[in-house]
């Protein structure tokens, strides 16, 4: 067997470096919201001590310092003539491989936050309920090119993709 004893390598391309900024921003906004909620609780009830605020703040700073960076190192993608290979996640890493012949739809989506950073996400679905490949945080132009390439390549393959 050609692949005995071997492990998968990372996909070739990283997502846009601006994705890091996006993840930091969303994490910071969520953190501020959580802080405000907790502050309200501290003011409203005596049972909630004030030091929980400090604890939450420290946890959030650590989270913002670590998780977006970790995410950025994990998120990668690659397209070959016969397959798409994506890697997402951070603590739990998910690598997905789909043959070109089994691709059913290719979605290009830009959420409000993504648009702020000039980013887009591409979702590639197969006939499997568990088989969608999603790459968030791509540069808008890269995402558009990726969609065009995939549609052209997937179109060239015969079959009903199941």
């Amino acid at each position: 067997m050609a692949t005995t004893g071997q492990a998968l390598r990372d996909p070739a391309h990283r997502v846009s470096p601006r994705a890091r900024a996006m993840w930091v921003t969303t994490a910071a906004v969520e953190g501020v919201v959580a802080l405000v909620v907790l502050l309200g609780a501290v003011l409203a009830w005596d049972a909630v001590p004030a030091w929980t605020l400090a604890l939450l703040l420290v946890a959030e700073v650590v989270w913002i310092a670590v998780v977006p960076q970790w995410r950025y190192r994990t998120h990668r993608w690659e397209v070959t003539d016969t397959a798409v290979y994506t890697q997402t996640g951070w603590w739990a890493r998910e690598r997905r491989i789909a043959p070109m012949s089994r691709i059913q739809t290719v979605d290009h989506a830009e959420g409000p936050v993504e648009r702020l950073f000039g980013l887009a996400s591409v979702t590639i679905t197969t006939a499997s309920a568990a088989g969608a490949l999603a790459v968030p945080g791509l540069d808008r132009e890269v995402a558009r090119r990726l969609v065009d390439d995939l549609v052209r390549q997937a179109d060239a393959v015969e079959g009903d993709a199941t």
Binding site: A7, L8, A83, R96, T126, A127, S128
Partner: protein
């Protein structure tokens, strides 16, 4: 199925025109709408009685009946140009259209009311991944004989079925499996049986609360006739539940029969609501042999099909063998797959790291609870708080040992076989031709010990067959062997 139609035979004559469902559905729809509106109706009747008006109550009956009538009048279907088309809705018209050669399963079900009227509901399963209910192609209410003819046509026109038809020319084969009343002893051990028991226990405690029975008994109450009565009541409730699960099993699976027909594998079951499913052989991607711990101890197994285009929200359509004697499900699996290997063949062990993970994952949560309980007792809580975690510990050990024994995977006779779990153990076999992608999922803990969870995605069942906690090189090797060339381009 009485007259042999050639593969070139046109679909049932007269189906090319738009037509309505059977008019007898007019008797079914209003009843169904009334049932659906029942909570609102009760409220309306109560409010109406309170305010003294009859108008509201009349309206409460007229509206559902009118809705049922409207539904009948606005639902039409036709079979033309190789497509089945269903048109629904008055204000928002919705036309669902499916090419006949994309039909994967045809399901006939009949509720009690429909059976009395001689009607069935025909449901067409196609290969759409996200098949939400609104888009399902359902002809609710056809005469039974007409539906059966339509079913045979739909499945026979599909080109892939011709080979199956020629393979079984020598007369109708005997059924692969039929119902055996002795299977009823497995009823309480099925998933639904356990759910019924849990729901009833939950309901009973809520009822007790509502009735106002004391939650904690005084020591003095624990003597005398009160206790006997309570224990007697408990036993009676348990026996009642047992009977309920047996009855449930009988109603869903009574008259079960699995046979091979030219159109595919045909499963029939149900006493009140009958269900008649035919699975096109080409779409049978694999099987899942269910061997949950409780059923295994009692000497039982069950079998489900992994059918392309039928996802797990339609589990009823994929049942092949209900919980039954241990020999039946494997025998049926061997017959359907045409090989013994995927069902009986030896599996490859996942190694010591995977075994360690089974132990830690089963035992650590119990230990955490135990430590918390010890701390609570130390802080002055009653000692019996310890009983639960202490009793759970041996159970966790047993389950962990069973999980270790069960874990394994193999590539046998063109099927990827994976087994895992204990309380809900499954041995799944998926034809490698039906694998449409791979997922490798691993948490930091798994990466640390070189394990990954391999998923072979497919267009049916749970969406993927999962090989739990396999060493990464083994995962890559089996994925490459199952579909040569795909994964190899991404290895180091």
């Amino acid at each position: 199925m009485s007259e042999p139609l050639g593969p070139a035979a046109p679909p049932v004559a007269g189906d090319e025109e738009w037509q309505r469902l059977d008019p007898r559905m007019l008797l079914v729809h209003p009843v169904r709408e009334v049932v659906r509106f029942l909570p609102a109706l009760v409220a309306i009747v109560l409010a109406g009685t309170a305010s003294g008006g009859v108008t509201w109550q009349v309206l409460g009956v007229v509206v559902p009946v009118a809705l049922g009538l409207l539904r009948y009048l606005t639902t039409r279907f036709r079979i033309a140009d190789g497509r089945v088309e269903l048109s629904r809705g008055l204000l928002q018209r919705r036309v669902t259209s499916v090419a006949v050669d994309r039909v994967r399963t045809v399901d006939l079900t009949a509720s009690l009311v429909q059976r009395v009227l001689g009607l069935v509901r025909l449901r067409i399963g196609t290969g759409v991944a996200a098949n939400d209910d609104g888009d399902a192609l359902e002809l609710d209410g056809l005469p039974a004989d007409r539906a059966e003819a339509l079913r045979d046509d739909l499945l026979r026109v599909a080109p892939a079925v011709d080979q199956t038809a020629s393979a079984t020319k020598d007369g109708p084969a005997p059924p692969v499996a039929t119902f055996d009343p002795r299977w009823l002893r497995f009823a309480p051990l099925t998933g639904t049986g356990l759910v019924v028991v849990a729901a009833a226990v939950g309901g009973a405690t809520q009822l007790l609360d509502a009735v106002g029975l004391p939650r904690s008994l005084d020591r003095a109450d624990l003597r005398g006739p009160g206790v006997v009565g309570a224990v007697g009541l408990l036993v009676a409730v348990l026996v009642g539940l047992l009977l309920l699960t047996v009855l449930g099993y009988l109603v869903t699976n009574g008259g079960y029969r699995l046979e091979q027909t030219p159109a595919g594998w045909r499963v029939r079951r149900g006493l009140l609501t009958t269900r008649d499913t035919t699975i096109d052989d080409e779409r049978l991607a694999g099987v899942a042999l269910g061997e949950p711990l409780a059923l295994r101890v009692a000497g039982g197994r069950h079998l489900q099909a992994i059918v392309t285009g039928v996802d797990r929200s339609e589990t009823g359509s994929s049942m092949l063998v209900p919980p039954s004697d241990a020999a039946v499900a494997p025998r049926v699996a061997r017959t359907l797959l045409g090989h013994a290997g995927p069902v009986d063949g030896p599996l490859r062990d996942h190694g010591p790291a995977a075994a360690r993970r089974r132990w830690t994952r089963a035992v650590v949560p119990v230990l955490v609870v135990l430590v918390a309980a010890v701390a609570a007792v130390g802080a002055g809580a009653p000692w019996w708080l310890l009983l639960g975690p202490v009793a759970l510990l041996p159970a966790a050990l047993v389950v962990a040992a069973d999980r270790v024994r069960g874990l394994g995977h193999a590539l046998l006779e063109g099927h990827l076989v994976a087994r895992s779990g204990s309380l809900a153990r499954r041995r799944e076999a998926l034809g490698t031709g039906h694998v449409i992608g791979w997922t490798f999922r691993d948490t930091w803990f798994q990466r640390r010990v070189g394990l990954t969870t391999l998923g072979a995605t497919t267009a049916g069942g749970r969406g993927a067959v999962t090989v739990l906690d396999v060493p990464e090189p083994d995962a890559v090797a089996v994925a490459d062997a199952a579909r040569p060339g795909l994964v190899a381009q991404f290895v180091r």
